[in-house]
Amino acid sequence: MGKPVAMTGNIAVANAMRQINPDVCAAYPITPSTEVMQQFASFVADGKVDTELVTAESEHSAMSACIGAAAAGGRVMTATSANGLALMWEMLYIASGNRLPIVMTVVNRALSAPINIHGDHSDGMGARDSGWIQIYSENAQEAYDNLIQAVVIGQHRDVRLPVMVGMDGFIISHSIENLELLSDQEVKDFIGEYLPLYPLLNIKQPVTYGPLDLQDYYSEHKRQQAEAMKLAKPVILKVAQDFAALSGRKYGFFETYRLDDAEMAILTLGSSAGTARFVIDRAREQGVKVGLIKLRVFRPFPMKELQAALGHLKALAVMDRCDSFGAAGGPVFSEVRSALYDLSPHPAVVNYIYGLGGRDLGIAHIEQVIRDLQEIRQTGCIRELLTYLTVRE
């Protein structure tokens, strides 16, 4: 058991980076993730890490520098938010297409316009098809734990994919919470020595990254990326198992709460799970059979596992902290609902889009969701497939 410490999510993540001691970090400041790299810069200056810190002139350049350093054979990390991630967009594909296991903290924040600096999942969800593994965190402890696991997942020989670890802007990044840090030695041993595949710096074995790849081989390379995502699934579980042995903290593709005997459930990502748990406890006291599922890994998407976990439900509310304009619903809803389609019978699934731009999700909102679920449970009818929660209209 580690010693409890009080830290913000950003400082916890910066400490994980200190313990990981990456070879290269390249970054550009953007609210609310700035503090991660700022704190890490202090570790660099104080000689606590051996990292080469590159202060770039944009996020596009920051990710480009990360890619160069990773191709050279380094263990590479960075952090960003919102439009920073959006500006990295084309480089995200270069990182994943070249199979470079860069690990990035994404302090999730709403995208402009209009400008908003607060937490939602628009940035991460916008990058969901970029070939990066995506892990979402509920609190500072999870952001810290997930980042350490991300390093081991990404660098695994079967995977070799970049990983982004999300935490909700301000709600997690700037709130002080109690958490436990592993010892520096424990982290060092857990992540192991980084052995790059085909490093550019190995002058005895010259290699080429990203050359022209037309109709002849491009499809095969993309197919390999899809395969790597599939192979990442057992790796994610194995790494979580090893991490549990080390820390006592258990992780999987998702976490369930009072779900086994539930007839209805709420599925959410990130910090809102805490509020949902509280409301579910209160509903349970009144005999309402409702549970929670908190999705941790969104890429690779745990379709089969979700089928097994949710198949017994009568009604499910999927909470999206992001809209997918003009789509069937939010991005999480669309995929969860699709995962349940093959089950017969399958639960009625409804979608709630909430908390955009940091709008608070309160107890009353989740109570409303539970009331809606009860109605669906009783009547068997869905009145509204998609509801915008926490919005004036």
Binding site: Q38, E57, A113
Partner: protein
């Protein structure tokens, strides 16, 4: 007669006490009053940073976009309606860092817009990292041993690109700054006004006192001729003991909008649509196929 009050937006400024931005806002209002520019004829475009907030505090049209991306928006707006007075407010990180490429290529295009850069030589909005104009050795929390890179010299860069109006102001010299802004707005073509602006919170080096000991007006040098590109470039390199203020370079030349034939008959919104002309072209094309 437009008074200063006509330009008050009523939005409370979210800048630190003592921020140089207050001086820029003040000088710009003075310039606008003197020019008697109606608020509805003005468009302010900004990016992200402390300068990005600027248009919120001024009553006129405004577009607050993304970090580094004010210039392309401003250029497009100017082309869409050349009758607008387009003023860009961005910062040193905004314009010279993330927006560096836009800066170079907007100068090449020479649209009639005024590009005002709030140069405090530090990232203010993200709380004190080195910017592209931070001097070598400048210490921050991210660069605790000092910046190791050469600072970007915006004036020398703009002069080398034959930018049609290149000036430097200083917020401690308010009337002079107002005159520069006025001249920049009146100038036909791309006008760069780099404004030296202390950041009392995150830049403890380039303070009001630091600038007061160094700045002087270019006019003090009787020999100086802003029409001479090489002399202007030479002056632009002067930094340290003495820092010149004023118009460094002036090269009137055709603007981008003047060179676009479609705009010769005025802004597009005032031009009549003539379907007969389009029909002629369509017939010609269909005859080809």
């Amino acid at each position: 007669m437009l008074s200063r009050e006509e330009y008050h937006s009523g939005v409370k400024e979210a800048w630190c006490p003592g921020c140089g931005n207050f001086g820029i806002l003040n000088a710009e209002k003075r310039a606008l009053v003197e020019l008697q520019l109606a608020p509805e004829k003005i468009l302010i475009v900004s990016g992200i940073g402390q300068a990005g907030k600027f248009p919120h505090y001024l009553r006129c049209n405004f577009f607050n976009g993304l970090h580094g991306r004010a210039l392309p928006v401003a250029l497009a707006a100017k082309l869409a309606n050349p009758e607008l007075t387009v003023i860009v407010h961005n910062g040193d990180g905004d314009c010279y860092g993330e927006g560096g490429n836009h800066f170079i290529h907007t100068i090449r295009r020479n649209p009639d817009i005024t590009c005002i850069v709030h140069n405090n030589k530090v990232y203010g909005l993200t709380k004190g990292q080195a910017s592209p104009t931070s001097d070598k050795g400048f210490k921050t929390k991210v660069q605790p041993y000092g910046v190791i890179h050469e600072p970007l010299n915006p004036l020398a860069l703009a002069i080398s690109l034959d930018c049609s109006f290149v000036a430097r102001g200083y917020v401690g010299d308010l009337q002079f700054l107002a005159e520069l802004i006025k001249a920049g707005i009146q100038h036909k073509g791309f006008a760069l006004i780099d404004i030296l602006q202390p950041c009392p919170t995150f830049n403890r080096v380039n303070t009001f006192r630091w600038y007061e000991e160094r700045v002087y007006h270019l006019e003090e040098d009787r020999e100086f001729d802003p029409k001479n590109q090489l002399k202007a470039f030479h002056k632009a390199l002067e930094w340290g003991e003495r820092i010149p203020l004023g118009v460094f370079y002036l090269h009137p030349k055709p603007t981008m909008e003047e060179q676009i034939p479609a705009l010769a008959a005025g802004p597009l919104y005032r031009q009549k649509i003539q379907p007969s002309k389009v029909l002629d072209i369509m017939e010609e094309l269909s005859a080809l196929s």
